[in-house]
């Protein structure tokens, strides 16, 4: 039966995350963007909401009934509504936990999943993107070559969140004829983490380039063991996570622009009473809802155990464009004031542009 109403549990989670985003995150978002750092207390409060443990199934030791992409998407939208850097930094452990839930072997799950239920998140991240405009998620240039029951990894990764402090980096690489992910120790021989990257947006999220030079890992370090990973499905989960975050950014930008347009008086009237402004905002509102529905449909399909490759791909593509359009419209609504960093809309525009690039930087 068609329905657009979240469950009571989901609604409670959304309400809690929204309170956190509105009260805790918004208060520090500007300063975090300027300084490139997020107060530890805010991150700790966010972690204690238990978004990730709640999405690890009880059968795997977690606190959730089942893993649900829909639930994740709902929470991620609320988080990104607060701030994208905070959302991505807070959910960096999910880059490892969710692939474990989806594709991990029993042994991998038993060893690693309990770490995600602790009072502080484990120091784990994932390396996915490569530093070239020719990057193709389905055919990474980073390679994993089987060698005497081990794998030898070579390649260059970029946009690896929190890599400097990570103990483990789940690294995606081309393995003979498919994409696989490998648990690589930060301290392993051949792993080099470069200086922190300087990006246009998500400036409060520390990201790093990672170089792998003849890094050897055991066969048990391959996600999913002998079977490997179901990479297309993992990518779909990532696309949905990112698209859900894009919806949160869009919603925040639209809301801000609406409030501003109703207060800002020019020509003796609030600018929102001019169709030129009102129509721009209405079109944004339509896109926010349309994008959210595409995210929900793709997530729902995944939760049904169906192939959602197409839906997730289209949702992500759609979200990439829509979030830029909405953030840009928000800046435009504020005019000159939108260009000043004291208003958040220019930050949201910088963050919005990143989504086309952010493949693999969120996992739901």
């Amino acid at each position: 039966m068609i329905s657009f109403t979240p469950t009571d549990e989901q609604q409670m989670l959304m309400d809690a995350v929204r309170r956190y985003s509105t009260n805790d995150v918004r208060a520090i978002a500007h300063e975090a963007d300027e300084s490139g750092d997020i107060p530890a207390s805010v991150l700790q409060t966010g972690w204690e909401m238990g978004i990730l443990p709640g999405n690890i199934p009880e059968t795997m030791g977690g606190f959730g009934e089942t893993h649900s992409a829909v639930t994740g998407a709902l929470a991620y939208e609320e988080l990104a509504y607060g701030d994208l850097s905070v959302a991505m930094r807070l959910m960096t452990p999910a880059l490892v936990a969710i692939p474990l839930v989806l594709d991990g072997t029993d042994a991998q799950r038993e060893e690693l999943l309990p770490l995600f239920l602790e009072e502080t998140p484990p120091l784990m991240t994932a390396a996915f993107i490569e530093p070239t405009f020719l990057f193709d998620a389905h055919h990474p240039q980073t390679t994993a070559v089987p060698d005497n029951g081990q794998f030898v990894l070579n390649g260059k990764k970029a946009y690896v969140p929190l890599a400097e402090d990570a103990e483990w980096i789940l690294t995606y690489a081309w393995n003979v004829e498919q994409v696989d992910a490998f648990f690589v120790q930060r301290s392993a021989e051949g792993v080099t983490v470069g200086p922190r990257e300087k990006l246009m947006g998500v400036r409060a999220l520390p990201t790093y380039p990672v170089t792998l030079s003849n890094v050897r890992v055991g066969a048990d370090c391959r996600l999913g063991g002998a079977q490997g990973a179901n990479f297309p499905r993992l990518l779909a989960h990532s696309q949905i996570a990112l698209a859900a975050m894009a919806v949160g950014v869009m919603r925040g930008a639209l809301e801000y622009a609406i409030n501003y347009a109703k207060e800002r008086v020019q020509f003796g009237v609030p600018i929102a009473t001019k169709q030129a402004i009102a129509f721009m905002l209405a079109e944004c509102a339509i896109e926010v809802d349309a994008t959210r529905l595409m995210v929900w449909e793709a997530a729902w399909k995944l939760d049904q155990g169906q192939d959602a490759t197409k839906e997730a791909y289209l949702a992500k593509q759609y979200a990439d464009k829509a979030v830029l359009m909405v953030a840009d419209s928000a800046v435009q609504t504020l005019g000159g004031h939108g260009y000043i960093r004291e208003h958040p809309v220019e930050r949201w525009l910088r963050n919005a542009r990143g989504f086309v690039t952010f493949d693999g930087m969120a996992m739901v």
Binding site: M1, I2, S3, F4, T5, P6, T7, Q10, V70, F133, L134, F135, D136, A137, H138, P232, L235, I258, A261, K262, A272, T273, Q275, A278, F279, L281, A282, E283, A285, I286, D289, A290, T291, L293, M294, W296, E297, W300, K301, T309, K310, E311, Y313, L314, Q317, Y318, V356
Partner: protein
């Protein structure tokens, strides 16, 4: 509840039958009917009449079985609007022009259902529930001087107290199925007229005009850019007399306080009709998209869902965008119809769906003609027809701009006087 996109089994089964009709009966006639404007889609009408008639009969019999004053039983949310939107999408995939000739009470039925009394429902709708000859209903709102601004209508209804009849005078244009309702069947047209021009919207009332009413004349039928199989009539009302009880709702005129039942009634029918227009748009859009993908596939060009931007050709990018636009608009439509079934006020969502769908299908079909080049532009294929048919969806039942205005007012919490 939980978020779900599961189409009920019953609708999926109905869709299979509708698809057979759309591909077996409508598609083969689509080109001929487009080239021969004002020709009736007789095969389609013949096949649809018993279906529509029996549905109407069921609804009326159900109503008759209820005791006076008893509210219709509700067993949780229904799926009536969901069913309808899926059917409309599929029929429009077949051919929008023919679909619009669906023999039923349609918009007239919606207005009568919304505000009519039991007696009126029986008197005006029974004809849609019996007999071998198809019957049409229509709605006449637009006038030469009143398009998007429906409150500007000039058609008058004056009560002749000596005979207790309303006397209607004025001209209505762009009335879908007006000729079918008034001249080619024993149908009805719901005519909007003002009982008090000085009262603005408050004075606007819907009146049921039956076929055969003296003083009612079909002035002309339009020749159009697309949906050429659809009947678009101009109706002149010249001292047309109808019984007092043909007024739907109350005759009372309340002043400009926005609490008028008449105009609100019209607006409420839009909440139901706009998702259907959006669904119809999606049918044409899907037809064009599927056709383009088929032609490309025949030429060895597939549409990938796993390639980065730099590896996609320009055509692949276009088709992916067409597909995404249709999906986005379809999901908005699904939500608008579903909310209606759940009894939730949906005018914001209905306008969102309508605005998005009209814009999306216009762009998608124009793109389809472009991609297919000389054959896209040729009247040998249906693509150019779909582009012409598609455009109406951004115009009727509120232009894209009017629906955008409604969305704007709702999100800004402005009244129609605050955001004009």
């Amino acid at each position: 509840m939980a978020i779900s996109f599961e189409i009920p089994e019953r609708i999926r089964q109905e869709l299979q039958m509708t698809e057979a009709l759309a591909s077996g009966v409508m598609r083969p006639e689509a080109r001929r009917l487009d080239e021969n404007e004002h020709t009736r889609p007789t095969d389609f009408i013949k096949m649809m009449w018993p279906v529509m008639r029996d549905q109407q009969k069921k609804a009326l019999d159900k109503l008759a079985a209820q005791s006076e004053g008893e509210a219709p039983k509700r067993e949780g949310p229904g799926i009536a609007n969901l069913r309808l939107m899926h059917m409309v999408e599929m029929l429009s995939w077949g051919d929008v022009g023919q679909y619009l000739c669906l023999p039923s009470a349609l918009l007239a039925g919606a207005a009568i259902e919304a505000v009519g009394t039991r007696e009126q429902k029986e008197r005006f709708l029974r004809r849609f529930a019996e007999g071998d000859e198809p019957v049409w209903g229509a709605m006449a709102m637009t006038e030469p001087g009143a398009g998007s601004d429906t409150s500007a209508i000039q058609t008058t209804a004056v009560l002749d107290e000596t005979t207790n009849e309303w006397v209607l005078n004025g001209e209505k244009i762009f009335c879908t199925n007006g000729k079918l309702a008034l001249e080619e069947s024993n149908g009805v047209v719901v005519v909007w007229a003002t009982v008090d021009r000085s009262a603005g919207r408050a004075g606007m009332k819907p009146f049921v005009v039956e076929a055969g009413t003296p003083g009612v004349r079909i002035e002309k039928v339009e020749i159009k850019h697309g949906i050429r199989a659809s009947d678009t009539a101009s109706i002149v009302l010249n001292n047309a007399r109808i019984p007092y009880d043909n007024l739907l709702g109350s005759a009372e005129v309340r002043q400009r306080d926005g609490s008028t039942t008449g105009f609100k009634g019209a607006m409420a029918t839009f909440d139901a009709s706009r998702p259907l227009i959006a669904a119809s748009a999606m049918g044409v859009g899907r037809a064009a998209l599927e056709f383009v993908k088929q032609v490309l596939a025949d030429a060895g060009i597939d549409i990938p869902y796993d390639k980065p931007y730099h590896e996609l050709t320009a055509i692949q990018r276009d088709v992916l965008e067409m597909e995404a636009q249709i999906k986005a608009a379809w999901l908005l439509t699904l939500r608008a119809a579903s909310l209606l079934d759940h009894g939730v006020h949906n005018s914001l969502e209905a306008s969102m769906a309508k605005a998005k769908a009209g814009k999306a299908v216009t762009w998608v079909t124009q793109k389809a003609v472009e991609i297919l080049g000389p054959m896209g532009y040729s009247r040998e294929w249906l693509v150019e027809k779909w582009m012409r048919d598609a455009k109406i969806n951004d115009i009727y039942e509120g232009t894209g701009q009017i629906n955008t205005l409604i969305v704007a007012r709702r999100i800004l919490n402005y009244s129609s006087s605050e955001l004009r």
